[in-house]
Amino acid sequence: MDNILLQVNDLRAGIDGKEILRGINLTVRPGEVHAIMGPNGSGKSTLSGVLAGNPAYTVNGGSVDFHGLDLLSLSPEDRSHEGLFLSFQYPVEIPGVSMVNFMRAAVNAKRKYFNEEPLSAGDFLKLMRQKRAIVELDNKLASRSVNEGFSGGEKKRNEIFQMAVLEPRLSILDETDSGLDIDALRIVASGVNKLKTDSNSTIVITHYQRLLDYIKPDFVHILYKGRIVYSGGPELALELEERGYDWIKEQVDNQQ
């Protein structure tokens, strides 16, 4: 298992008794960017939800190793502490809870998990200031309620801001490009790129090639009917852009 951050083996999962993931295999090493593409309903969001531990999904089989830990046995908050971050396709609004209080709770929960003292108010605000700059969010953010009244672009920038604060080992960006205009897309992508290091990894889940112009993947996987049916390099994304998903569907459906 040397130098593997995430190892997914034959992962099967579903929701409300319906099987959606039918045996996913995926290996992610530190420093890599993986894109997972696929037509609607192929299971992209289920995969991100299952990895993050969303209780709405039921795991039916398989295993996930996350830097030596049995990921599926961890609570969602412990997965977070251990370095898994999910950028939500639809960030949730929490009325009345300021971003400052929310992030302080998040940061201090993580520190507690690692037996560290809570961050002082001064240090915390300094951290917020530093990280805010990465996604060009203004300082009014601090007093606003979590995602409440944010525009689509602000919500996604806010996700990347939280990612910057929590410094995850593995970030899963679930359809981060959906609902973004080109300027917001550029800011979000540049934020992700600034946070990129040799030791952390990213899984970009997307329907379109567009985002991959900004966040360059090392690997592209095509998810269809709950399985990864095709893996390749960045050129695969371009091919999909040109030819659509139909040829993949045909191939897979014919094999069955």
């Binding site: 531990g53 609570s75 412990d78 998040a106």
Partner: protein
């Protein structure tokens, strides 16, 4: 928070069922030598209470009239509450800590008593107190000690127990007692008027801003008794005072009755802020025990441009029945009501306010935030009344409910009675649930569920919490969190 490996599907259900490990930390009983009169209520008992307190004839008269009126009344049943039969003959109406001779200084106060209040976080030793606060400590039927009295007296402010006030300032008490809440007002007001034992009296003279928060701390200790306290606050012209009330009681299997009256008179341009953090014992998860809290609170904004503001955080009691109200008589007077009422397990609350607009250009604001969990029932009941003379009256009401389980109830009963065409009355209401999406979003950021619920609930209640004095706000926030521990999955 290392949790179980498996997350059962209806985890929220399980957690709701396993509720109330959120422990009531004030549930202890103090071993204090207490003088309790035999149970039962009669004219003789009313006379006995009056005699024990060495009261003047007029007050005994007041009590007897109230008692006789009470005999003609029936328990009110209109609230959205399931109230078990209360046997009023099974309650003792007077319990006082036995003392040697009336303690003049704190050194003479029973150390057990001091210890009781210390454990409640209320220090009666002035040097150890939060600065800027004076406290009247009421245990069972009597006021035990009032701090900072001398300091306040220098400014002409009277802050003492109502028993002392009857002795030392009979004219003031006689003038105002029953002037806002008549003994004829309702069943519990009549009962209280007949048997009230102690409570606080506050008088702020003309033009004086009270420099510290005045606070009464009510504690029920003795078993088999009720608490019937009475508070009277008078703010003369241009005066200002902020007053806080806190309450706790031991954890017992039996229900105990608390029927209080608070009367407030606000004169010209004066302002009174009255804040309550009510944390009476709520009973256990199955609804055994807990305090029955039947309270009549009302303020009269008698003066022009006077202002009365009620803020309440209600987390305790098995049953809560209270409607702190404002009678806006003075021209341009202002009434406010900010409330957070939390019910969990088998608790029941029927609470709200009445805003009675009588004077011209009177204004009122109502912000009510109900939070229900477990199998509890939580009702807002409010009346906005504008009489024909009240031209230019204005009311804004916002009434929100937050549901934390599928087994609780939230109800809203707004009554609006407008008899003047120039009045503007607005009512907004929302009902929401803490969604699983919100909880998961917090979890994903590393925030455990308990803390997430606390964050969300405090965010929801923020508008009201912001109205509390600082020292109270922090305590109230923690209290919200404890009350709702394990109530959501």
């Amino acid at each position: 928070m290392n949790q179980d490996n498996t997350r059962p599907e209806n985890q929220s259900e399980d957690i709701i069922k396993g509720a109330t490990s959120g422990e009531y930390k004030y549930g202890f009983v103090s071993d204090i030598d207490t003088d309790i009169i035999p149970v039962g209520l009669s004219e003789d008992v009313v006379r006995l209470i009056s005699a024990k307190k060495g009261e003047p004839e007029w007050l005994l008269d007041f009590r007897l009239k109230a008692y006789r009126h009470w005999l003609t009344l029936e328990m009110p049943r209109w609230a959205h509450l399931d109230i078990p039969e209360i046997d009023f003959q099974a309650i003792s109406y007077y319990a006082e800590p036995r003392k040697k001779e009336g303690p003049k200084s704190l050194d003479e106060v029973d150390p057990q008593l001091l210890d009781t209040f210390n454990r409640l976080g209320i220090s009666l030793e002035e040097q150890k107190q939060l600065s800027g606060m004076a406290v009247d400590a009421v245990l069972d039927s009597v006021s035990v000690h009032t701090t900072n009295k001398e300091k306040l007296a220098k400014m002409g402010i009277i802050f003492c127990s109502i028993s002392e006030a009857v002795k030392d300032y009979p004219d003031l008490v006689r003038k105002y007692l029953g002037s806002v809440v008549s003994y004829r007002d309702n069943f519990f007001a009549a009962l209280n008027s007949a048997v009230f034992s102690d409570g606080s009296f506050v008088y702020i003279p003309k033009g004086v801003r009270c420099p510290m928060e005045l606070s009464t701390y009510f504690r029920i200790n003795a078993a088999g008794t009720g608490q019937f306290e009475r508070t009277l606050i008078v703010a003369d012209d241009d005066a200002y005072v902020s007053y806080l009330e806190g309450c706790t009681a031991p954890q017992r299997d039996e229900n105990q009755l608390h029927a209080a009256i608070v009367e407030i008179v606000v004169e010209d341009r004066a302002e009174v802020k009255y804040s309550t953090v009510q944390n009476w014992y709520a009973g256990d998860a199955e609804g055994r025990g807990g305090i029955f809290n039947f309270v009549t609170k009302r303020g009269l904004c008698r003066g022009d441009y006077s202002k009365l503001s009620w803020t309440q955080v209600e987390t305790g009691s098995a049953i809560t029945w209270k409607y702190p109200s404002c009678v806006l008589k003075g021209e341009g007077s202002v009434g406010e009501f900010y409330s957070v009422a939390v019910t969990n397990n088998r608790q029941q609350a029927d609470t709200g306010t009445k805003m009675i607009h009588i004077g011209r250009n009177t204004r009122s604001t109502i912000v009510s935030k109900g939070i229900s969990a477990g199998h509890s029932e939580n009702a807002y009941r409010g009346l906005v009344k504008v009489v024909p003379a009240a031209s230019g009256a204005r009311n804004y009401t916002q009434c929100d409910s937050l549901l934390l389980s599928d087994t609780c109830g939230a109800h809203t009963f707004p009554y609006i009675d407008v008899q003047n065409d120039t009045a503007i009355v607005e009512h907004e209401a929302t009902t929401s649930k803490i969604s699983e999406d919100q909880i998961f979003y917090c979890n994903q950021r590393g925030i455990p569920t308990e803390e997430a619920v606390g964050l969300i609930v405090n965010g929801y209640a923020k508008e009201v919490m912001n109205k509390l004095p600082m020292e109270f706000a922090v305590e109230a926030q923690k209290l919200l969190q404890i009350t709702l521990e394990n109530s959501v999955g």
